[in-house]
């Protein structure tokens, strides 16, 4: 297949970073760098294009079909550009019991796009995803790499408003975690009780409700 090289190779000016990634794996495991290389490209370009797949295949000495095979296996690599704010709505059981389906419907209505789409401005994209491991702080909305937890109606509306202004609020970390354990630990360590996430507390930073 002859393809005109219309873009500069992604890793051309990132040789140090490339070497660092390849060096994480033993010589017999060169191909292990495939997933991290896909992440590198996607983080920078919001998707992995055909040309980048070819470039990665060449770096690793494998066929581009193998790169595509791996890419398509996973839910978080994308062949088409994501929005600057990629909204990932957890849809699985505990989030569903906390209203994730209604959150999704709200986002669809509010943003005019559905699962798998990006809006015309390239600002938002939506993806329904499976369990994000935030069941104790459901429902969770992941925006790019950041978890927003216990996103009720008002928090969701505030988040969307903020992103429309080009701001991504600092996440409030909620844990609903081990109350007695954390308290004991705080006493033992001489630190004050941790402000975050014990039981049902409000947001501690960048809170939206």
């Amino acid at each position: 297949m002859i393809e005109l090289q219309t873009v500069a190779p992604f890793f051309a000016d990132k040789q140090e970073r490339l070497a660092e990634i390849l060096n994480r794996y033993p010589p017999q495991g060169r191909r292990s760098a495939l997933m991290p290389l896909l992440w590198e490209v996607q983080n920078a370009e919001l998707h992995v294009s055909e040309a980048r797949m070819q470039e990665i295949a060449d770096i690793l000495g494998i066929n581009v079909t193998e790169v595509k095979g791996v890419m398509s296996f996973y839910s978080t690599y994308h062949e088409h550009p994501l929005g600057r704010y990629h909204l990932q709505v957890c849809s699985t059981i505990s989030c569903s019991l906390a209203g994730a389906d209604q959150m999704y419907d709200y986002l669809v209505e509010e943003l005019g796009i559905v699962n798998g789409e990006r809006d015309a401005e390239g600002r938002f994209s939506i993806q329904k995803v499976e369990c994000l491991g935030s069941c104790g702080t459901a429902p969770v909305l992941q925006v790019n790499d950041t978890y927003y937890e216990r996103v009720g109606r008002s928090r969701c509306a505030h988040l969307i408003d903020a992103m429309r202004r080009g701001e991504l609020p600092a996440p409030w970390r909620e844990r609903g975690s081990d109350i007695a354990g954390a308290e004991k630990a705080a006493a033992a360590s001489g630190l004050g009780a941790s402000g975050e996430g014990q039981g049902r507390q409000g947001p501690t930073g960048g809170g939206a409700d």
Binding site: Y25, T76, I93, C131, G152, I179, S189, G199
Partner: protein, 445 residues
């Protein structure tokens, strides 16, 4: 009762002898740093293992503790470690499975985020026990905060000489690579995880050969869950007898239980094994916040129980759950409210497994990934008949035990349980074309 609790094994968090260990510093600001960790006794266990114990002694200690794998399968950790063949000059790997993806499970995430050195210390101990040459922590791709903090912790440990050549003056040379996954539940299956780590599609491999014989890159490999490795730290610190003083006959030690769904204080509670569901749900999680009708005992793959005293009073241990037709799994309890229609709930779960099926084997690809979700959808949309209900049950019964890896069973066993306890909701829906419980809006302000 109080007297008995003072002398017998510790099976309740109310027992005054019980102390939280793995989650002691989770939620404490700054706990993820090396400074904090070391000033709270961190790396003492690694030092003890590397400088005063032979690898065989470490394996024996972990065996004697009774620790069983906390990733869901419950295989004895020390026994697993002893499967590694004698060193022969080839690389030997210890892998940490941090691909936590089972719905209802979220315990490993906070160790990665708030106490990653605890995991690294566990891996150093495991590496010493198995004379491993390199370690990999495979973290699910979505856990970005956990990945960042674990990567930073590995770098800190390396700078401090806790990873690298001749650690703490011992013979052990060992380093760790953190590998970011990309959203695939199947990677929690150990051989699929190895394929994924090798840059392949994450299809499970045929066993045997088992990983100890031919694992990552064909080399001797052992895979452990985050919580198992964290447990090893405290077993070495405080001794196997301390660990074994907690729990029941076949389930020893302390465990991270998770609870989600409509309860007042959802979250993670570290408790001795053998504590009851009632203690977790009522004493720690504050009880149900909506009228309950069932609970899932250990993550979405484990068959559910109706909300009855005889089940709430069960001990949360491997044997009791097995005897009652379910599994302890990852210890992720999910409370199901009365107003959630069981068919709708199971459609949600079946859709999850359908999405996560890798498509390698026929029963899972055709049954789990294709027909089950379609039949459920038909029912839920009010187009189903009694025949469809029977067909779902028949399919589940026939998929059971036939697939290449455990994923298909993880889907159909909960389906079977939903029929066992809540068949009436299926039949109501087939007959009336609307669910018996019609609440659809669950979103709070």
């Amino acid at each position: 009762m109080a007297d008995a609790s003072q002398t017998g094994p510790i099976v309740s968090r109310h027992d005054p002898r019980y102390e939280v260990s793995m989650y002691r510093y989770v939620g404490v600001d700054g706990a993820h740093t090396l400074d904090f960790y070391r000033s709270h006794g961190g790396y003492d266990a690694a030092r003890k293992a590397l400088t005063t114990m032979t690898p065989e002694q470490v394996v024996d200690e972990v065996k004697a503790s009774g620790l069983r794998g906390r990733g869901g399968a419950g295989f004895p950790t020390g026994v697993k470690w002893s499967f590694m063949p004698p060193p022969d000059g080839r690389p030997r790997y210890v892998l940490c499975n941090a691909d936590e993806s089972e719905p209802g499970s979220f315990k490993d995430r906070y160790i990665l985020e708030d106490d990653p050195h605890q995991l690294i210390e566990g891996m150093i101990i495991a590496a010493h026990a198995m004379r491993a040459t390199h370690g990999f922590i495979y973290v699910r791709g979505e856990y970005m905060l956990g990945i960042e903090r674990t990567v930073a912790a590995v770098e800190e440990a390396r700078s401090a000489g806790l990873l690298g050549e001749k650690i703490l003056g011992s013979e052990l040379s060992f380093d760790i690579t953190v590998h970011r996954g990309a959203g695939a539940y199947i990677c929690g299956e150990e051989t699929a995880l190895m394929n994924s780590l090798e840059g392949l599609r994450a299809n499970p491999r045929l066993k045997p050969p088992f990983p100890a014989a031919a694992g990552l890159y064909g080399m001797p490999t052992t895979i452990n869950n985050v919580e198992s490795l964290a447990s090893a730290v405290h077993i070495i610190n405080r001794g196997a007898a301390w660990f074994a003083s907690m729990g029941t006959e076949d389930s020893k030690g302390t465990k991270l239980y998770q609870i989600s769904g409509p309860v007042h204080r959802p979250g993670i509670y570290e408790m001795p094994m053998g504590a009851t569901f009632r203690e977790l749900i009522y004493d720690f999680a504050g009880g149900p916040s909506l009228e309950p009708k069932a609970f899932i005992p250990g993550g979405s793959s484990t068959p559910m129980f109706p909300w009855e005293d005889r089940f709430l009073d069960m001990n949360m241990d491997y044997g009791t759950l097995a005897k009652n037709g379910s599994m302890l799994g990852t210890g992720g309890v999910i409370v199901i409210p009365r107003d959630k229609d069981i068919v709708d709930l199971m459609f949600n779960l079946v859709r999850f497994y359908a999405h996560e099926s890798c498509g390698k084997c026929t029963p899972c690809r055709e049954g789990v990934a294709h027909w089950l979700p379609r039949l459920y959808q038909k029912l839920v949309e009010g187009l189903g008949t009694q025949e469809d209900v029977d067909l779902i049950e028949d399919l589940a019964n026939n998929i059971r035990g036939t697939a290449f890896c455990p994923l298909a069973d993880a889907c159909v066993m909960p389906v079977q349980a939903s029929f066992k306890w809540f068949r009436d909701e299926y039949e109501y829906l087939a007959e009336h074309k609307v669910p018996k419980y019609g609440k659809t809006d669950w979103w709070q302000a």
